[in-house]
Symmetry: C2
Subunit: 652 residues, 2 copies
C-alpha cells in the first residue's frame, strides 16, 4: 500500500471565488441586522401576489370571452368574488402571523393543529408550488422580455435559467440585500399601475373615458352558452382569476425575517399588500371593462380586427388607452415594471422555500442540511435546491408559460384550506381555556369561513384545471409527501440505533496497532513514531507484496535501519492491496473480539490539485473498506509536503 494522498488544497482554492460571489461571512449575532423593516419586507415577500395583477384580470376576461362579449357583464361579479376571497384569505393569514410567530405558515399551523400527515400534505403542496412559482414567473417575465427583444427568442430557456441563477445569487448574499434590490421594481410597479388607475378614473369622471384599441372588435363565442354552462364558465373564469392569490402565504411563512414586533409587522405588511392588491386588481378590472378591452384566446374568433393584428395584454391595452398611445412614457413605465416584477415574483418563492425547507429539515422530514444557515445567514441549501429544480422545470417545459401556468394553483389552495382548517382547530382549543376571549369566536368564524371558501375554490380549480396539466401536480405532491415520510423514517431509525445504552461502551482491554508501509520514507517513519507514542499492546508494521523485488528491498532496508518494530509481509496474488490487509485485520478481530485494532496509514498531503493525479489513491479505498469493520479505528498520519506551504511542512 503506497502512502495515500490528500487534496485538501481544494478546500482553500474554492474560498476566494465563494467570497467574491456571496460576500464575507456574517456573525450569528448579526441575524438581527438582516431582519427586514416593513418597507423592505413588502417587496421581498409580496412581489408574487402583487405581480399577479399583471395577468389576473386578463385570465378572467379570456375565459368569459369563450361565451362571447355578452358574458363580460359577469366580469365585475367574478372579480368581486376574487376580491372577497383575497380579503378573507388575508384576514385569515393575519391571524396566523400572530398565532405562529416562528413562521411556517400552512405547515406550522397544520402541524400544531391537524397532525403530522396534514402538515406534510401542506408542506408538499407548498414545496411544489414554490418551485412552480419560480418557473412560471421567470418564464412569463422572459416571455415579455423576448417579445420586446426578438433576437433573444431562440435563447429563452438559457435566459430563463440565467435569471434563476441571478435570483439565487442575490438571495445567497442575504435577505436584506435582496430586499433592497427588489424594492425598486416592486414599488415602481405599484406606483405605475396606481397612477394609471387614477388617470383612468379622472378621465371617466371628466367624461372622456379611455377607449382600448380592441374596443371596436367583436368576439364570436366558442360555443353557444346558456343556463348551467354560463355558471360553469363563470367558475372557470373565477378559478383563473384566483392566480391573484398565489404567494399570500409567503408573509406568514417569513414572520421570523421581520423586525420586532415580528407578528405585528408581518400582519401589517399583509394588510398593506391586501389593500394594494385589491386596489390594483379592482382598478385594472374596472378600466379594462370601461375601456372595452375585447380579447380572445383564439385570434380567429376576433371580428373586425385588421389583418395581422397582434393582441396585446390587458394591462398593456389599458395603459395604452389611458396614457394615450403605445409611445407614451406612462405606457412604457407600466410595461417595463410589469416585466421586471414578473421575474422578481419568483423571489417570493426564494424567500419562502428555504424557510419552509429549514423547518422541514429541523423536523427531520428533509435532509438536516436545509436547517443550517450559510455564511450569509440565509438557508443556502434551500436556495440552491430551489434554483436547481426550477431550472430543470424550465428546461423540461422549454420555458413555455402556457404549459407551466396550469400547474401552479392547486398547491396554493391545498395549503390555504389546510392552514385555515388548522386555525379553526386552534381557536376551538383556545376557547376551551380559561383565558378565552370573545374575539376568538370572531377569529374562528373568519377562519372557518376562509377554510370553507378556499376548499370550494380548490374543488373548482381541480375540476377546471385537472385536464389542463394540473394532474402533474396531483402526482408530484404525493411523491414529495412519501419522500418526506421516508426521510423521517430513516432519521428515526438511525436515532434509535445511536441512542446510548445505559451501560455505555466497554473500554477495549487491549489495542493492537498496525502501521501500513509501502516504502521506507519519512512519512512511514513518522507513522511508526506516532504509533509507538500511543503505547499499544502490540505494534506491527505490515506491507503488501505486489512486487517481489520491491518488498525484498523494503525488508533489507528495514533491517539495515534496525527499526524496532517487526515488519510483516502480506502476499497478494491479485496485486490488490485492500484484500490482504482486511483479511489480516479480520484475523486479529476473530482472535480477540473485545479488543481494538488501530490501523495507522501514512499519507502525504499535496499542495497543488494536480499533484493529486501523480499520487495514487489505494489508501483511500482501503480506508473506506476498513471503516466497515467493527472494532477498528483508522488513523491518518499526514505528512505535509513543502508545496502545501504550511508552517513546519516538509520538516521531519
Amino acid at each position: 500500500m503506497t502512502a495515500g494522498r490528500r487534496l485538501a488544497g481544494g478546500v482553500k482554492v474554492l474560498e476566494l471565488p465563494k467570497r467574491l460571489l456571496v460576500g464575507r461571512p456574517l456573525r450569528s449575532e448579526r441575524l438581527g441586522e438582516t431582519l427586514l423593516p416593513k418597507r423592505l419586507a413588502l417587496p421581498v415577500f409580496c412581489s408574487d401576489p402583487l405581480s399577479s395583477n399583471a395577468y389576473a384580470t386578463e385570465e378572467i376576461l379570456l375565459m368569459l370571452s369563450l361565451g362571447g362579449l355578452a358574458l363580460l357583464q359577469l366580469a365585475p361579479w367574478v372579480a368581486a368574488v376574487v376580491v372577497a376571497l383575497l380579503i378573507v384569505v388575508v384576514a385569515s393569514y393575519r391571524q396566523t402571523c400572530y398565532a405562529y410567530p416562528s413562521g411556517g405558515g400552512a405547515y406550522a399551523v397544520s402541524r400544531a393543529n391537524l397532525g403530522r400527515n396534514a402538515s406534510l400534505v401542506a408542506a408538499s403542496a407548498l414545496l411544489v408550488d414554490y418551485v412552480l412559482t419560480v418557473a412560471v414567473s421567470v418564464a412569463a417575465g422572459v416571455q415579455n422580455i423576448v417579445s420586446a427583444v426578438p433576437v433573444l427568442a431562440p435563447h429563452a430557456v438559457a435566459v430563463s435559467i440565467g435569471m434563476i441563477a441571478v435570483l439565487a445569487w442575490m438571495n445567497l448574499r442575504g435577505v436584506k440585500e435582496s430586499g433592497t434590490a427588489f424594492a425598486v421594481p416592486t414599488y415602481g410597479f405599484i406606483a405605475a399601475v396606481l397612477v394609471m388607475i387614477v388617470v383612468g378614473f379622472v378621465r371617466i369622471l371628466t367624461g372622456a373615458p379611455a377607449q382600448a384599441e380592441s374596443a371596436p372588435y367583436g368576439v364570436v363565442p366558442a360555443s353557444h352558452v346558456t343556463g348551467l354552462a354560463v355558471v360553469l364558465l363563470a367558475m372557470r373564469a373565477f378559478a383563473s382569476g384566483c392566480t391573484a392569490l398565489t404567494g399570500v402565504e409567503a408573509v406568514s411563512n417569513g414572520v421570523p425575517n421581520f423586525r420586532r414586533p415580528k407578528s405585528r409587522n408581518a400582519a401589517d405588511t399583509l394588510a398593506i399588500m391586501g389593500g394594494v392588491t385589491v386596489a390594483m386588481f379592482a382598478g385594472i378590472t374596472v378600466l379594462a371593462l370601461t375601456s372595452h378591452v375585447h380579447l380572445s384566446d383564439n385570434p380567429a374568433r376576433l371580428t373586425g380586427a385588421p389583418a395581422g393584428y397582434q393582441q396585446r395584454t390587458v394591462i398593456a391595452q389599458v395603459a395604452g388607452a389611458v396614457f394615450g398611445g403605445y409611445h407614451s412614457i406612462g405606457f412604457f413605465a407600466v410595461q417595463t415594471f410589469t416585466a421586471a416584477i414578473l421575474v422578481l415574483a419568483a423571489n417570493t418563492a426564494f424567500n419562502g422555500f428555504p424557510i419552509l425547507a429549514s423547518l422541514l429539515g429541523h423536523d427531520g422530514f428533509l435532509p438536516r442540511q436545509f436547517s443550517r444557515r450559510g455564511d450569509r445567514l440565509v438557508f443556502s441549501n434551500g436556495i440552491v435546491i430551489l434554483a436547481a429544480l426550477a431550472g430543470v422545470l424550465i428546461w423540461v417545459f422549454q420555458a413555455s408559460t402556457t404549459r407551466l401556468i396550469q400547474l401552479y394553483i392547486i398547491g396554493v389552495f391545498v395549503s390555504f384550506t389546510l392552514s385555515q382548517a388548522g386555525m379553526v382547530v386552534h381557536w376551538t382549543r383556545s376557547l376551551r381555556e380559561p383565558s378565552a376571549t370573545v374575539s376568538m369566536h370572531r377569529s374562528r368564524a373568519i377562519n372557518a369561513f376562509g377554510a370553507v371558501f378556499t376548499a370550494v375554490v380548490l374543488v373548482i380549480v381541480l375540476i377546471t384545471k385537472f385536464t389542463h396539466g394540473a394532474w402533474i401536480v396531483v402526482l408530484a405532491m404525493p411523491a414529495v409527501f412519501l419522500l418526506m415520510k421516508g426521510i423521517r423514517r430513516d432519521y428515526d431509525r438511525v436515532e434509535a440505533e445511536l441512542r446510548p445504552r445505559p451501560g455505555g461502551v466497554a473500554l477495549p482491554p487491549r489495542v493492537f496497532a498496525i502501521v501500513l508501509v509501502s516504502k521506507l520514507h519519512t512519512p512511514t517513519l513518522r507513522a511508526l513514531a506516532y504509533a509507538r507514542a500511543t503505547r499499544p499492546t502490540t505494534l506491527t508494521a505490515i506491507t503488501v507484496a505486489t512486487d517481489q523485488d520491491a518488498s525484498d528491498a523494503l525488508l533489507r532496508e528495514w533491517s539495515e535501519r534496525a527499526i524496532p518494530v517487526p515488519l510483516k509481509v502480506l502476499h497478494s496474488p491479485y496485486r490488490d492491496v485492500t484484500g490482504p490487509v482486511l483479511e489480516y485485520v479480520k484475523d486479529i478481530r476473530r482472535g480477540s473480539p473485545r479488543d481494538l485494532v488501530a490501523v495507522f496509514i501514512p499519507e502525504y498531503v499535496v499542495g497543488h490539485w494536480w499533484e493529486a493525479f501523480l499520487h495514487n489513491q489505494s489508501a483511500l479505498r482501503l480506508k473506506a473498506h476498513l471503516l466497515f469493520q467493527t472494532g477498528v479505528m483508522v488513523i491518518n498520519v499526514p505528512w505535509q509536503l513543502a508545496s502545501t506551504g504550511e508552517p513546519g511542512a516538509g520538516a521531519p
Copy 2:
C-alpha cells in the same frame, strides 16, 4: 461538529458491473498465460501496418495525378522506394527486438543510447502518434461503414466514439482475448487481398488483364509540371505512401507480450509482417497500374467520366476489376475486411500506448498509476486514457478523416529516426567490448542506413505536410515533452523530500487526545472509549456551539451521565465548525510543538448511497483541514449502522 458519514458502500456497488464487463481478476502468476503466440501477435500488433495497404497505393496515385496521367509512370519507382524503406525499417527494428527484449521500442532504445531528452522526444512522438492512430483508423473505418449504410451518416461521431469504447473494452478484458477477436478480420484481410493479387496476376499471365472502371477516363493536370517540380511531386507522393510504415514500431514495443523466446518470436513476427506488407503493397500497386486505375483528388479534373460518377477507392476498383464487378463475392470480401481492419488498426495503438505509458510511469515521466496492471493484467489506465483522448480528437474534428490523416505521420518518423540512431550508438558501444562480433558491423550499417533514410523521409514529410495540418503535431509533441519533464521533476522533488534522514523521526513525548462531540450518542461513547484505550497524556472532549440550546442540552446530559472526560465548548460566531477546532489544535501545538495531537472523530458508516445525503459532511471538511496541520493525527472511529449489513454492526 456532527459525526461524519461515509459512503464506503459505493466501493462495493461498483464491483458487480465491473466484473461483468472486464471478467474476473487474474492472479499475477497467470501473466505467462496471457502471452501471445506468433499467430495471435500478428493480428494484435500488426493490424495497423497491414491495414495501411488499404490506402497507401491510393495516396501515391492521388499525388502523382496532380501532374496528370503521364506522371503515373513514376509510381513504380515511388512504390519501390517505399518498399525499400519498409524493408530497411523492418530489418532495423528486428535488431531492436533482440537488443531490447523488455520492449519500449524507440523510447527504450533512445533512453539507453541517446539520453533522457532524446528518449522523451521519441516518447512524446509515439504517444501523440498512438492517439492519432486510433482517431484516424476509427474515423476511416467508420467512413467506409457510413458510405455503405448512409442512415448512419449523421451519427458518424457517435458511431466512432462507440467503436473506440468497444475497442477499449476488449482490451481491458486482456491481451489474449483481444488477440483472438482480432485474428479473424486481420487474416481475412490478408487472405482476401492475396487471393485478389493471385487472381489478378493469373489474368495478366493468361493475357486477360483486368481493366478498372476508370481506365477510360483521363486526368487533367492541376498545373503543368516539369523539371524540379516533378521531383517535388514525386517526393510528396513518396511522403504520402509512407503511411504504409505506421505501426511498425508496435512489435518492438510489445516484445514482453510475446511467448518465449520473446525476442526471436517478435523478430519473426516483424519479418512475417514485413513480407506480407511488401507483397500486398507491391501487388496492389502493380494491379492498380496494369488495370489503369485513374483517379483525382478533384473529380472536376477527371475527363470522360459520366455525370454523377463517384470515385471508388483504389482497392475497391482493383477488386472490382479482378473479380469481375461490384457484385461479386470477391469484391464483397475485400471491401468488408478492409472496413474491419481499418477499425481494428486502432487496436495496434491500444496495445502500444499502455505499454509505453507503463514504462514512462515506471520511470516517473507519467503518473505512476500507468505502470500498474489491472485486474486482467493489462495496463488499464493507459487503455482508458488513450480511448478518452482519441474520443476527444474524433469529437473535435467531427470524425473527418481528411482533417485527421494529415496529422499522423510526423511522430512515426521522429521515433524511427531516433530509434535507429540509438541503435547505431548501441552497436558502436558493443563493438568496443571484447565480445564484439563481425556481424555487429553489418547490424550497425543497417541501422545507420535506416537512420539516415528515415531522417530524410522525416524532413520530406515535414516539408510536404506541415501546412496541411502537421503543425498541430509539431505543437503537441513539445507540450507532451514538457509535461513529462514536469511530472518527473515533481516526483524527484517529492522523493528527495520524503527520503528518511539518518536520525529518523523523534518520538513525540506526549500525546494530547481530543474527541470531537456533536451529540451524546453511541458513536461518541465509542470514540471516547477508544481514545481512553490509547492512554493519552491528556484527553478532552470538545464541541462547537453553533446553537446555544443544543450545546446547553449536551452539557447537561454530559454531567448527568457522569462521563469521566472533561467537555469543552468552543464558540463559533460564524456557525463554522472547522475554524474553532483548527484554532484549538493550533493552540495546543504552539504550547508544546514537540508533542502530538490526536483528534478522534466519531463517524457513522451508512449502508445505502442515498443515506449519505441525509447525514452531513462537515467532518470530512474538518478532516481535510486537520491533515494540513503538522504534528496532528486524525483518527476515524467508525460506527457501522445496521444498514451496512456488516457482522456486529449496530451493536454497542
